[in-house]
Each structure stands twice: as structure tokens, then as C-alpha cells.
Amino acid sequence: MNFRRIAAVTLTGALALAFGSPRPAAADGAASTRNILFGAAAVGGTLLILNHNKKVHQKYAEYDQRQAQTQAEANQAEAAYQSERRAYAHEAALVSDYEKEAAYQHRQVVAKDREIASLEHSLVVAKAAAARAGRSTTFAQRAVVRTAGRAAQPALAVASPELVSYGWGTY
């Protein structure tokens, strides 16, 4: 700002010297040369001020651009942080669901294991009983008798509670 003020004072002084004190046009060469020099100095000062102003505006523009960019980056970082936070919250909820599901499946597996163990025990007992009796488990079983139907209808198979069939394979 000081440079600007000095330049303005210099320019004002130069103009005052050039035009402020009107003098009769001198016909001599020295006065003409002096007038030309004062005019050139005035033009040069004006250009200097304009160039300075232009640089100042350029600096402010760059500064504003940097500020805007910094602000944008900050906003972007904030938005990214919020997005990450939301994603983390979702993942945490998902993990919680997975944990619940895994716990449920674990309980199911334990229950099934117990059921299988019980069935295996029953099978072992049945096989042992059959071995003691010296026969396979299917040799004697409840008879399935096919009742004679009409010709147009297929015969029905019914299990007869009082009849026992002997043999091999399942009819």
C-alpha cells in the first residue's frame, strides 16, 4: 500500500509540474525537452500503477483460489470422513448380525449333534438286539398286504397290524 501511495504522490507531483503551472510555450529546445520528459514520466508512472494493481489483484485471486481449494478439500475430507463413519457403522451392524447368526447355527449344530448321538445309540441298541436274536432287522416285520381292487383301480397296499411277514427286503 505504501508503494501505491508513493507512486500516486509521484505521479501527482509530476503532473503538477507539467501542467499545474502554466507557462508560456517556450520556443527554445530546452523547454521542449523538459516537457517531453515530464510527459514520459507521467505515462510511466501510470503504467507502473496499473501493473502494480494488476499484480495485487492477481495475488488476491490466487489467494482466494487457494482458500477455495483448501475449503473444498476440507469439505471433501469431512464428507469422506462421514461416509467412512457410516460405512463402519453398517459393517459393525453386519458383524453383529453375523455373530448372532453364527451363535444360532452353533446352537442348532449342538442340538443336531445330540440328536444324532441319540439316534446312533438307538441304532447300536437295535443292532445289538438283532444280533442277539440272530436275525436281520427286516426279516420279520408288519405285513403290507395289497387289497384286491376293481380292475379299473390299482390295488391298495395296507399295513395289517395283526399279520407279520417274513423275508428279505422291503415290499
Binding site: R135, S136, F139, A143, V144, P154, S165, W168
Partner: protein, 135 residues
């Protein structure tokens, strides 16, 4: 020439029919009678000759002896007559007539023609009638 063609066609037809018959295996009635007579005779090899592999493994000598004894308790084996048939499921039933009673014979054939199940059901109601007829 025509006679030669006719004989060739007849030979071809006979071959085709023979092949089809071999693929189907023995008739259910024949199988049931053969197995029933083998069980009655307590002949293990003949009993399981037409069984499929899985069913063969389930047959034991003691079971065969027990079933043979049950048949002998009804007297001599006279005949086997078809009672019902369901070729779609491969299930056939026969009445086995003994001198002092009868049994229901059940046969299930696999699609391959092998026997997947052979069972007999002693018919309690038939025994007194047969016994009365005999006495």
C-alpha cells in the same frame, strides 16, 4: 428269394423277441415259484440266485431255516397262484397253497429284473379251513 427273405425276417424277429425276453428276466410267477420252492427246500444258493446284491447280503441261514420251518408246518407245497400284480411298481403277490394251509408270497422286482424283496405272510384264517378240509 421270397422264402429266403421270409426266413431271414423270422430269424430276426425271433432274435429281437429273445433279446427282449432276456432283458426282462424271468416272469414274476416263475421267480416266485422258484424262490418259494428253494426256501421250502432250505436251499440258500437257490433262494438268493435271483436276488439283487443288496438283498442277498441280508439273507442268513438261520432266517432261511426259520422260514422253511414255517412252510413245512403247513405241509407239502402244492402250488403258487397269482393274486395281484402291479408291474409299474414291480410288486406281485401270489397265494402259496400247502396241504394244510396257505401263505401269501410277496415279490418286488427291481427295474433290472432282480428280486428286491421276497416276503411271505402266513395267513391265519386259511389254516383252520385247510385243517378242517384235511381232517
Amino acid at each position: 428269394m421270397t422264402a429266403k427273405n421270409a426266413s431271414l425276417a423270422a430269424a430276426l424277429l425271433a432274435t429281437l423277441l429273445g433279446g427282449c425276453s432276456a432283458q426282462r428276466g424271468a416272469a414274476p410267477g416263475q421267480l416266485a415259484e422258484q424262490i418259494t420252492r428253494a426256501v421250502y427246500a432250505d436251499d440258500l444258493d437257490a433262494t438268493i440266485a435271483n436276488f439283487d446284491d443288496a438283498t442277498k447280503k441280508t439273507v442268513t441261514r438261520s432266517e432261511l431255516g426259520e422260514l422253511s420251518d414255517r412252510m413245512h408246518a403247513l405241509g407239502d407245497l402244492k402250488s403258487l397262484a397269482p393274486r395281484s400284480a402291479d408291474p409299474d411298481s414291480g410288486k406281485y403277490e401270489f397265494d402259496a397253497t400247502f396241504s394244510n394251509g396257505s401263505m401269501l408270497v410277496q415279490l418286488r422286482l427291481d427295474p433290472s429284473g432282480k428280486v428286491g424283496a421276497y416276503r411271505v405272510v402266513p395267513e391265519k384264517t386259511a389254516a383252520p379251513a385247510a385243517a378242517g378240509a384235511a381232517g
